[in-house]
Homo-oligomer: 215 residues x 2
């Protein structure tokens, strides 16, 4: 039985489509009435684990799921030992440094040394500010990071930006990009090595769809 | 202007009631159509920050909110420098060790050494297993921790249990309690010291309601 870890939220619909074209139908997870966290595929050959974004690489790293779909941002932040198999190209967004629109900062390097930066992505943020050699105090928040600059707690934030609407709604503006992120198909390294063909067939199916531009 | 950090979710309704009886009306945050994260009180003297559970002590520790309401579990887990002012006694739940009902473990100490334990509360779990001198491998999950034992990734979980329904629905059973948790009124230490009376009036109001058993 193949188990696939899927992230609840923005990537779910496209993740289901991706496996559907590769022969596995998990569309039941899209049913708003579904309360199951472990959902069998309609063919019964596989099952999906419906978990939070950050937990996808955990289930794949421990081999409880052989495959998973998750954003590159999560992989960068958590650095779990998983195989990065296919760039699925959907779920595009960028990890950006944002500040109040009314501030005068043009680039991240303009921020005052030792200022506070709020983020859910502490590791990505630390790496970026280390690279540009600017010492900052990172404040770890778990949600609504845009409140950091609004309340005056932080001078800047590091967060994912998709359409930019949340930033605009909160009077913030992106001034620097850390990296671009898209959804990735990931795999459990040992399962991939021991696979007798079933997992690779799914991976090839997903790659084929990508080549055919169906995603 | 007094700012109060309120946790979205299970504690919100009681938190609003608590401040209402102390003279601050934040009932607007309960409106399902409310999209604001910073909500003024109806009297205009104060405002509420609507944030995630784990972020309440962060805003209070940095002084962006002078007061906040959050579960004791979050305070135990994150150990931020905030003043623990009043046990509000609502939001009661316990931090428990749970295993599969079909397993033979009667107490946490029966778990096999070096087994995996999944939790959102890694620090609380580490402290507990250190105390009972049982070495375990902690797996940090951010949600749906009950999937840990179901998928076979973990032998046990450490999680909050309120009614016990989630455990039952997933074939799990609590075998040990770490501690009991209730909502707490917390404060920013420096703001409390510099306060000219406004903050203490609210704290006294909350204490009075508790004495009168109105909560």
């Amino acid at each position: 039985m193949i188990t696939v870890a899927l992230a609840k939220g923005a990537l779910l619909k496209d993740s289901v489509d991706c496996f559907l074209s590769a022969g596995l139908d998990f569309s039941r997870v899209l049913d708003p009435d579904n309360r199951l966290l472990m959902v069998p595929s309609s063919c019964g050959r596989a099952r999906a684990l419906l978990v939070r974004n950050g937990d996808v690489p955990v289930y794949v790293a421990y081999g409880q799921a052989q495959l998973g779909v998750v954003g590159h941002d999560v992989l960068r932040e958590h650095q779990m030992p998983v195989a990065n198999l296919v760039d699925l190209e959907f779920g595009g967004c960028r990890m950006a440094v944002a500040v109040k629109e009314s501030s005068n900062y043009q680039r991240a390097i303009d921020l005052p040394p030792h200022c506070r930066v709020a983020s859910k992505f502490i590791n990505c943020a630390r790496e970026f500010f280390d690279e540009i050699d600017l010492p900052v105090e990172l404040v770890h928040l778990t949600g609504s990071v845009e409140l950091g600059p609004i309340t005056g707690m932080a001078e800047a934030i590091v967060d994912l930006v998709a359409t930019g609407r949340t930033l605009r709604d909160n009077g913030l503006i992106a001034i620097d990009d850390l990296f671009h992120s898209t959804a990735r198909l990931i795999g459990h390294p040992l399962s991939l090595r021991l696979d007798e063909g079933d997992i690779h067939k799914i991976i090839e199916g997903v790659k084929q769809i990508k080549r055919d531009n169906l995603l």
